[in-house]
Amino acid sequence: MARERNPIQVIYLAERICGICSFSHIVAFVRAVEDAAKIEVPIRAQYIRSLVLELERIHSHILWAGVACYTFGYDSAFNLGMLLREKVMDVLEALTGNRVNYGVGTVGGVRRDLTPKAAAVVREMIAFYRREFETFLDVVTEDPIAKARMRNVGVLSPEDAVTYCALGPTARGSGLRVDLRHTSPYEAYGDLGVKPVVPQDYTGEVYGDVYDRFLVRVMEVIQSLDLLEKIVDGIPEGPITWEPKLPKVLASLKAADGTGWGIIEAPRGDDTHIVKLTKGEDNLTWWKVRAPTYSNAVSWPLMFMNQEIADAPLIINSIDPCISCMERILVSDEKIGRSEIVTKAQMMEKCREKTRRLMGA
């Protein structure tokens, strides 16, 4: 598909790799193209990119936290999370005009400026979340049942996380201080001083279980609020694109020759795009994407070891996967030579039953 399109057209395809981390994919792709064509991005554009990336992280993490609660039958927390999430959606809409696929990134910069009005909306959102997000945090992290469902479930030790290349919050949940925004800052992150969020800083110890991954994500929402504040305060004046005239951009991309990389920290882990441009060709020569779930899914078997089936949906969910058709499992009992397929619905039911059991106990 992409090979029949020029890089600017492919941006909109890259955006639709995933409807949740759409902007992460754009930024990774655009950075790869810029790397191949040696294009400098103005500082203001870098700040705006970081701004949208952080907003996206907030909405993705809140959505995930809500869905995790939903998985173990905590529907009120799910709805609370979704209600909170609408605020950041409003802000994204005010900033970019769209709720999900924003379409603000372009090669060499961004397409929409941060107006003072939009900055005010962002500030208002930061204040709102500082006020309201605590409720959600208390509801979930202090709740004994929620804790019982997530503690010591789906454990991934730090050593295994390294061996099996876990990324993003999955690795950080196992106590590894890895975060591309910290280890190899891109866009404006170099100025912002991001520290990886790891559970030992909050609870004093690392379990590497679902609870830790949960904690990492909610704490990252709070971290993102601080980053947003720094971005809005520190954004410099200047142009927002390297070259506002599209034909000129296309001409220079046509003249470019080489391979470019773009690696960024998406909400789920490292998102890598590699692009090859050939001189004299309008279109991409090739394009390779590695989304974080490819790496994170490898560690599932380790997390599943010695766990109940009722916990399986939660464990699957805990890496925040981007799949839709893999939600069934094959249960086999070697001793009696029996195997049976458990579907997603049965699995969810089992998972919720366990919560009820815990509540009854």
Binding site: G19, M82, L83, N101
Partner: protein
């Protein structure tokens, strides 16, 4: 169409089965937003059900990948009559950015008949609610036709 009419003619709550035929997730997220507190389509009695056999309406997102074609047909066949098909999102309606991809059999109307298209990439939750309202009207028409043709209730 007046939205108030919808409530007048609704004989029963609209139950919807959602089939993702290879979408980018954007539309699915907006559907989730539609059923959660801000937009809360459930206050009209519409809800997502877990089996096509319980559904009145089939809601399809995504441009229908080759792998999903057969499954989509089977799901469609399992929805009892009268039924409506709602396509949410541009990619189900026309292919959108996935147009001309080698792995597509879609858009959806290549495979099953579609009654309501909701455009946008992704559409806003308000648009999805409007689509559902249109589906209710259509469903009612189909029900009457079936009754006229001699179907029992």
């Amino acid at each position: 169409m007046k939205m108030t009419r919808v409530l007048e003619i609704l004989p029963k709550s609209l139950w919807v089965f959602h089939c993702n035929s290879g979408s980018c997730n954007g539309c699915d997220i907006e559907i989730v937003a539609t059923i959660t507190p801000r937009y809360d389509i459930e206050r009209f009695g519409m809800k997502l059900v877990g089996s096509p056999r319980h559904a009145d309406a089939l809601l399809v997102t995504g441009p229908v990948t080759k792998y999903m074609t057969d499954r989509l047909r089977r799901i469609y066949a399992q929805v009892p009559d009268p039924k409506v098909v709602i396509v949410v999102g541009n990619c189900g309606a026309s292919g959108d950015v996935f147009f001309k991809s080698y792995s597509l059999d879609g858009p959806v109307d290549n495979i099953i008949p579609v009654d309501v298209y909701v455009h946008g990439c992704p559409p806003r939750p308000e648009a999805i609610i409007e689509g559902a309202a249109k589906a209710v009207l259509l469903l009612e028409k189909k029900r009457e036709e079936l009754l006229k043709a001699g179907a029992s209730r």
